[in-house]
């Protein structure tokens, strides 16, 4: 057991994977000499050299496109997109090329690349550097999607992503990099594609991922003091989606909140809500409640930014009212 940051766990995952597998290399803006805009790759350039920590020009579409070509040529690129907000210029290479190549070519070849990026609020970075755009990815058949919430998952999900035969978009949360947790990297973790139940609880289940796992846990702890026990499911990967774990808890509690930092409309929370309703309808005492990002751009103003996405307080308040509704019923 050692204390480690989310950032260092990611770095360790890259280091271990690159040591084991020669075909893995990292490419992106400032990933080498600079060590990454958020410091994730700091030191790896010195360890692995310029060929395996490839600093690229500021050319996001071609970065993703080059990663596709490298992946088709026997390598395992880890392309980095400095902010998920830049995914808009790469969605052709990602959605029309990486995601569809195996299918269009009749299964001849896959595109085993990882696109590492980070998203979310928390740094007053404004409307173009604070978004949560995972829904674009989740909606695109052919792309896997992982979003680690914990230090251990930062490590393990990235390692697992680097073993996938298909393209994986790996979205970190910018506000988690400095988070420290005690971790034992050799302790067993759920396998790729399986959710983690971070907390058991019989009164309701909160289904979430990425930073909101921590907000949900904080809310759950406060709720517990008031006698309300919430289970918290950390999805870990959104594609594959571990619906069985969700189902089990929904059937047990009958009350569900889905939480996502992304804009609510047509986002990940919508998918989760729709699926839970359609698959578990008879078990639901009340509708699944979506707690998600507002349908607005993110402001640079600190207060406006913080209130644009779910907070622990909001999660707690809503959970309390959901449970109260039942008690009253």
């Amino acid at each position: 057991m050692a204390e480690m940051t989310y950032r260092d766990a990611l770095k360790q995952a890259l280091r271990d994977a690159m040591t084991e597998d020669d075909s893995i290399f990292v490419m992106g803006e400032e990933v080498g000499r600079y060590g990454g805009a958020y410091g994730v790759t700091k030191g790896l350039y010195e360890e692995f050299g310029a060929d395996r920590l490839l600093d690229t020009p500021i050319s996001e579409p071609a970065i993703v496109g080059a990663a596709v070509g490298a992946a088709m040529s026997g390598m395992r690129p880890v392309a980095e997109l400095m902010y998920v907000d830049f995914i808009g210029m790469t969605m052709d290479q990602l959605g029309n090329q990486a995601a569809k190549i195996r299918y269009m070519f009749g299964g001849q070849i896959g595109v085993p690349m990882v696109l590492r990026t980070q998203g979310g609020t928390g740094r007053s970075a404004g409307a173009q550097h604070s978004q949560s755009l995972e829904a674009y990815v989740m909606h695109t058949p052919g792309l896997r999607l992982a979003m680690p919430a914990t230090v251990a998952d930062a490590y393990h999900l990235l390692r697992a992503a680097l073993r996938q035969p298909d393209p994986v978009v790996f979205i970190e949360h910018k506000s988690l990099y400095a988070m420290k947790e005690e971790v034992n990297l050799s302790a067993p973790v759920p396998e790729w594609g399986k959710a983690a139940v971070r907390r058991e609880g019989g009164d309701l289940v909160i289904v979430t991922y990425s930073r909101q796992v921590h907000y949900a846990m904080q809310a759950a702890q406060e709720l517990s003091k008031k006698g309300v026990e919430a289970a918290v499911i950390d999805l870990r990967t959104l594609n594959p989606l571990d619906f069985e774990t969700i189902r089990r808890h929904v059937e047990k509690t009958g009350r569900v909140m889905v939480v996502s930092e992304a804009a609510m409309t047509a986002g990940v929370a919508a998918e989760l809500s729709a699926r839970i309703h359609e698959e578990c309808f008879d078990y639901l005492a009340e509708p699944v409640v979506r707690v998600a990002g507002e349908d607005i751009p993110i402001s640079v103003s600190v207060d406006l930014e913080a209130n644009s996405v779910p907070t622990p307080g909001l999660i707690r308040d809503v959970a309390e009212r959901m449970v109260a509704v039942r008690s009253a019923a």
């Binding site: 496109g65 596709v68 088709m72 040529s73 290479q93 299964g107 058949p141 359609e278």
Partner: protein, 351 residues
């Protein structure tokens, strides 16, 4: 029946200066014949859709470059890539089957004309996105540079892609990293109904590459030997890590796709453009070099027969089974996506 790239050349035709040209003529003729059959497949209502882009008029670009490729080399093409793939050694039957959307096609009928690919021949894929296949060669170049075998990776695209930003990003990377990569622009003067002069002011296309630090040339596509000569020099450089750009001037003989009758260009434009016929030119050069008309006619006939058979092959082939729909979205060891019907069945059954 499969293709025969090594079809024996008529003895007389292959003598003297014809030795080099004859196989290129044969390859160009095969491309032309194949494309004519693609047109026929459409007319017979047997193709998958009408988005079929014939490379007639561009045979010297396909053959001049592709004939220089070797095992280990890779390439991507644009939507008008039949000729390149065939010149690289593709099986015309499997190509035609793919164009018809059939199971025995290169991509089991899922890709079609615009998404044909074959890893065996290093074809990393045609692309229906203008410019979409270009950056892949940067990645392939990184891999081949690392492997150090001198393999080159070539992106083929049209003049229309010269206006796509990703080309510049890709060329810049190739130059920056000294990659064994080549960018080949088949300038057939048109992007759909738009003449190149209507799409850009800077029509000396190779200057753009030079400004980014690549070697850059433009060559007239009339004589395939010229194309090959320039391409040889640039590819050799490419193998050594000096990436290059080559624009090949030619003319798109027919409409953009099968439905397009080119109303936007004049008869005069077409007459002038079609006068630059690389296949005819090569045939005449062979005759001038001492080839015998009858022997060439026999070769042409042999090719015609080969290509006729591709239609029969494609028409007789079966479409992919419906169950294949969910296959190959992900790797074969992964669960397939759940069909909507299955999901609905479960939901309604629960009730």
């Amino acid at each position: 029946m499969t293709q025969d790239v090594n079809m024996a050349a008529p003895a007389a035709a292959a003598s003297g200066s014809n030795t080099e040209l004859l196989p290129m003529y044969r390859d160009m003729r095969r491309v032309r014949s194949f494309e004519e059959r693609v047109g026929e497949l459409f007319v017979r209502g047997q193709s998958a859709g009408s988005m079929l882009h014939l490379s007639i008029g561009e045979e010297s670009a396909a053959v001049g470059v592709a004939s220089l490729m070797r095992k280990g080399d890779t390439f991507t093409t644009h939507h008008r890539g039949h000729g390149i793939f065939l010149a690289r050694g593709a099986d015309p039957n499997r190509m035609m089957a793919e164009i018809a959307g059939k199971e025995s096609g290169y991509c089991h009928g899922k890709g079609g004309s615009m998404h044909i690919a074959d890893m065996g021949l290093g074809h990393l894929g045609a692309n229906a996105i203008v410019g979409g296949g270009i950056p892949a060669v940067v990645g392939a170049g990184l891999a081949s540079k690392r492997a150090g075998r001198g393999d080159v990776s070539i992106a083929f695209f049209g003049d229309g892609a010269m206006q796509q930003g990703i080309l510049y990003e890709s060329m810049n990377m190739a130059a920056l990293w000294d990659l064994p990569v080549m960018f080949v622009c088949i300038n057939n003067q048109y992007g759909m109904g738009t003449r190149i002069e209507q799409a850009t002011r800077g029509v000396e296309l190779h200057q753009r590459a030079r400004a980014l630090g690549l070697r850059g040339e433009t060559v007239d596509g009339l004589d395939v030997r010229d194309v090959r000569e320039v391409a040889q020099d640039l590819i050799d450089g490419g193998r050594a890590g000096n990436p290059a750009f080559l624009a090949i001037d030619c003319y798109r003989f027919f409409g953009h796709a099968r439905m397009d009758k080119s109303p936007y260009r004049s008869e005069e434009d077409e007459t002038q453009g079609r006068a630059k016929d690389p296949v005819k030119f090569a045939r005449q050069a062979l005759l001038d070099g001492g080839a015998d008309e009858a022997e060439l006619a026999a070769l042409d006939g042999e090719i015609s027969a080969e290509m006729d058979a591709t239609i029969d092959f494609a028409v007789a082939a079966t479409p992919p089974p419906l169950t294949s729909m969910f296959r190959d979205v992900y790797a074969s060891d992964q669960p397939e996506p759940e069909p909507v019907r299955t999901r609905i069945d479960r939901i309604l059954a629960v009730e």
